[in-house]
Symmetry: C3
Subunit: 259 residues, 3 copies
């Protein structure tokens, strides 16, 4: 930090179990990755190559190497897992993972109907060789999953070997954890937290108001995902109470100089 202020919340340090920021890269160039890391590298814990973008970006191998050099693991968006699985090409997917030296993998069912036991089976198989992130929630705004099911699925996926579970929101933040307006389904979130430890969850929260909601509810060191590369620094100020939205969140009563 460039200067010292009283009562800033303490941030966790890498490798973080909580307080992680997961970023979505949906097609950065190598130089853009360098630029991004030069500013935000220390605040980024893991990078997702969104949906199927890894298929069509010509710089993939070099880009993975750049992130690796910076000590930041990467993984392919869950939609890619689903694209292989639905085509009965799961073995091909493992070959792709190994070709690119991926150490993390996402298992999701946002776009497919996947029997939940079968999903856990995929998680279990992959957990032998990779660190698995699994995602709960549909990309279909019409499909409302009730809280008890979110909890049961999250627990089953952790039991099957997931390192962390992700709450679905898409790039736009308008499904899964959120209503189509972007508003948080706060009852859902609170119910989940009665059962699943908060450090095991990454909340996709691409919109500022969503990030603010989670920092207010769970503090500076909540795990947040689907953050755009150029929103990592602004998010860090939200976590620290250095932006209007969370400005009074962390200041102790005795510190306040005037009302």
């Amino acid at each position: 930090m460039n200067y010292t202020l009283k009562d800033l919340p303490e941030r966790t340090q890498k490798p973080r179990q909580s307080g992680s920021t997961m970023v979505m890269d949906k097609g950065l160039s190598l130089r853009e990755v360098e630029d991004f890391l030069s500013v935000s590298g220390e605040y980024v814990d893991i990078v997702k190559f969104g949906f199927g973008t890894s298929c069509v970006t010509p710089n993939l191998k070099e880009k993975i190497a750049l992130y690796k050099e910076a000590g930041i693991p990467t993984y392919f968006g869950g939609t890619l897992f689903e694209a292989f699985a639905i085509r009965n090409q799961f073995d091909d997917y493992r070959r792709v993972l190994d070709k690119y030296g991926m150490e993390y993998v996402e298992v999701s069912d946002g776009s497919i109907e996947l029997d939940h036991e079968k999903k856990c089976d995929y998680i279990h198989k992959l957990a032998d060789s990779y660190t698995v992130l699994s995602e709960v929630g549909s990309k279909d705004a019409e499909k409302i999953i009730p809280p008890y099911k979110w909890i049961a699925q999250m627990q089953a996926e952790l039991d099957a070997g997931s390192w962390k579970v992700i709450g679905e929101a898409r790039e736009a933040g308008n499904v899964g954890l959120f209503r189509s307006s972007g508003e948080v389904r706060s009852g859902l979130v609170e119910e989940i937290l009665t059962k699943i430890p908060f450090e095991k969850i990454i909340w996709e929260a691409p919109q500022k108001a969503q990030q603010v909601f989670f920092v207010k509810l769970l503090g500076a060191n909540v795990n947040l995902g689907n953050i755009a590369p150029n929103e990592v620094i602004p998010l860090e100020t939200i976590r620290l109470g250095l932006r209007g939205d969370t400005f009074m969140e962390f200041i102790k009563a005795e510190t306040i100089a005037f009302k």
Copy 2:
């Protein structure tokens, strides 16, 4: 492509008559153009310097050269043609086109009232020396042009020498083809397609939901325009069914591994 999946739609190759992506550059630096092309170059067919931005960007000559080197033609937004035409400076406009070695030109009437015969006359004159794109639709959200008029104008402009016709949407995607909410005027689109060959039309579709609409209606190889530079890779995944929105679009029934 970095790996192979069954049932991906076949994409056309450059020079594309259909399946083109037209990008709006509204002020990129030279290095940003290099970055953009390093990732998206093979998916970009033509670049528009949006509205009057070409007047105030100091790097214009060098930028045109960069795109030319990459084999990507550029043109000035139609608003610039209109700015010269309304001031009775059409001859000056031709001199500007030639000073910058432009091979493509857009003729539009989104901000001016231009008699349609006169518009076709401009197209006819310019078609001798340039490849002409002409645009139909008003930038004024209040001006609703009925479908039969869209068709008559598009046909007349193609007859006058336009290479392709563009359906207006603006940078924001909230006029012309779309309601102010961004929703597609789908009846209009379908009626246009009963008369005008789909490869002759570039649909401006800056919003994701709009791109999805056109890919679902017309397939991977629809011509789309006003795409932001950093949305070309995401669009490519929409075209290929590698994003949630078009995920099941191209998979054959016999390929599907599970329901």
Copy 3:
């Protein structure tokens, strides 16, 4: 300019008292600053490091130097002043300003309750050593300040030594001068202008429709702020009437070639 059009409004030149563009940098890398300045440098008058981003960007010193080299002054967002003031760390703040060689400083009360006399006192103290920008308006959408109070506060702050006063809007453009929908509180703006000289005010106007409103009301040379770096060139076309929204604004009746 790359070519000449009749009836373009004359833009002021640097150092501008009116017609200024204030840009918000919320975490650019050094190379992104270079890119930005290579295109937009001559149109940018002052750069704000938004809210508390200056605390967490590792390249701060070098970035300030880059802007300085280009002749563009920088300052820290008012939220940072407030973060120090509320913690009774005002003297620390002055040390931070001096450590980074800042010549401009913002005083605001968007996130704190600050007695207005005390605010003017801060302005007065800082005006000895720095050029002060002070901001009027709350970041809280619920706190509606009536026009007469805006005027009284603006006048008092100018009297206390502010170089210019800023009308609050946040990065999103949805508070202060604007309704939560982003719509301009036009009555408020017009009433302010009956009392405060327009060149003393910088209107935060991050959204395009807001920029268009002010250019239509006050002409090409209105001071606008909270402009995103990649929106400076598009804004310049709005100022000049080279974008659809202000297209007919500056053309004289006798110039118009056709109705």
